[in-house]
């Protein structure tokens, strides 16, 4: 019995009552308690003391809690499992839901704000891009215009030079009896041998697709081919057309010839002629 006394005095029974003991030790204490009445009695004494101690430190829970607990235990008296589940879940909700919801809603709003910002940004970007495209196309149009004007100015300049340059001789070709309204202005540069036709002032009858006008130079009574040209269309902006060069000529004439021109002029198809 000395062993039992030592066992009691080891303090293991106190730890057993306080629940501060491993499962193995617990099983051993329970075995000892079953075998030795003294151990059993000692445990009961310790339990009583702790029970009194707890009672001394008792704190009354609120009055409503009694009803709440009793209701929750009694309402589902016959349906324990369902009750446990639903009850625990509701408790969890009570304790947990509020702060979690608060955090959630913050992120929700933050997300919404970000999304809004993103949409506004995209809208702005698209707007800006469209405007940039507009500006670019306007710029291109302006450059094209500028180029066109520059070309025109150059062209006019060169046309003007034709008249300024004293080396040019300007010849007016007049209509034949068949074509009294026909007229044409031609310039011949005796230095550079260039021959230019002023397309702007050209007044020749329209011809069909199979024919072209051909310019002839008369040198010592013989016709020399100076190249072919088309009567300008109504909307044409062509200025001058350079024909083949020739060193000297007495006269110039234009005949209507089959497409591509002929070797010899068809005299009865002559539309204009002019002599120096």
């Amino acid at each position: 019995m000395k062993d039992v006394k030592a066992y009691i005095e080891s303090g293991i029974l106190e730890l057993y009552v306080l629940g501060d003991i491993s499962a193995e030790e617990k099983a051993h204490v329970e075995e000892m308690a079953a075998n030795y009445a003294e151990v059993r009695a000692e445990i009961t004494e310790i339990e009583r003391s702790m029970e009194f101690y707890a009672e001394e430190h008792a704190v009354e829970p609120s009055e409503q809690l009694r009803t709440k607990v009793l209701n929750s235990l009694l309402v589902n008296l016959g349906d324990d499992n369902t009750f446990t589940k639903s009850r625990t879940h509701q408790d969890d909700d009570n304790v947990v839901a509020l702060p979690v919801a608060r955090v959630n809603s913050f992120y929700k709003y933050a997300f919404a704000a970000c999304l809004t910002l993103l949409l506004v940004s995209i809208y702005g970007l698209v707007n800006l891009y469209t405007k940039l495209q507009d500006s670019n196309s306007q710029l291109t149009a302006l450059q094209t215009d500028k180029q066109r004007f520059a070309n025109q100015v150059n062209l006019m300049d060169s046309q003007l030079n034709m008249y300024r340059d004293t080396a040019y001789k300007v010849l007016k070709l007049k209509g034949m009896p068949k074509t009294p309204t026909a007229a044409m202005i031609l310039a011949w540069n005796s230095v550079s041998k260039k021959v230019m036709v002023d397309m702007q002032t050209l007044k020749l009858p329209q011809h069909d697709q199979k024919h072209q006008y051909q310019l002839w130079a008369l040198v010592g009574g013989k016709p020399v081919d100076m190249g072919v040209f088309d009567a300008p269309k109504a909307d044409s902006t062509a200025g001058v057309k350079e024909m083949k060069a020739i060193a000297s000529a007495d006269a110039f004439a234009v005949t209507l010839e089959p497409m591509g021109g002929s070797v010899n002029p068809t005299i009865d198809q002559m539309v204009v002629i002019g002599k120096f």
């Binding site: 629940g19 704190v59 408790d91």
Partner: protein
């Protein structure tokens, strides 16, 4: 036991009634033990509302796992107080509780202090001052750490900075002192 309580049964009667799932057992169980259990729980959990939730959980668990209790292994209260203490400690250590206590710390401490003051002036608890003087401070601190705060004796040894053997001895001395006092 206390005149204030509405329904009181002997422990054997109570255990029998609980086993038979009688309505009166539930009421008696609550009336006899809610304050003692709540005393333990509210020393672990300072937030009154959370402590009450844990008390409710405790009763639910007692009610549903009552078949696991055997009077041969010990007194009913010992079994119940272990359930209450474990639930309370689980709650304190849970992530939710930590988050929540950050939000409500100040407010809850105030209510807890008020509540404790009320408790101290309850007539049936007047003996507590006398009791405190019967326990040496080092006995009381170790007893409260293990009984009310749910420390293991190993953790208590670390907390108080004393050897394990001393802890066990002090614990036994403290409880012997209590036994003398209550007898």
């Amino acid at each position: 036991m206390s005149p204030k309580r509405k329904i009181s049964l002997s422990e054997d009667e109570l255990v029998l009634a609980l086993r038979n799932r009688e309505k009166i057992a539930v009421e008696a169980l609550y009336d006899m033990y809610s304050a003692s259990l709540f005393g333990v729980i509210s020393r672990i959990i300072t937030d009154e509302a959370v402590a009450e939730d844990v008390l409710q959980e405790t009763f639910v668990k007692i009610w549903h796992s009552f078949s696991g209790y055997s009077s041969e292994k010990g007194r009913l209260f010992t079994w119940m107080v272990n359930i209450a203490r474990n639930l309370a400690i689980d709650k304190v250590r849970s992530k939710d509780f930590k988050n929540q206590s950050k939000n409500h710390e100040l407010e809850n401490n105030v209510t807890f202090i008020d509540e404790q003051r009320n408790t101290v002036y309850k007539p049936e608890l007047l003996g507590i001052r006398e009791l405190v003087s019967t326990l040496k401070p080092e006995q009381k601190s170790i007893l409260d750490l293990v009984y009310f705060k749910g420390y293991t004796h190993v953790e208590a040894a670390e907390e108080l900075g004393v050897p394990l053997g001393t802890i066990k001895t002090r614990l036994r001395m403290a409880i012997l002192q209590l036994r003398k006092h209550f007898n």
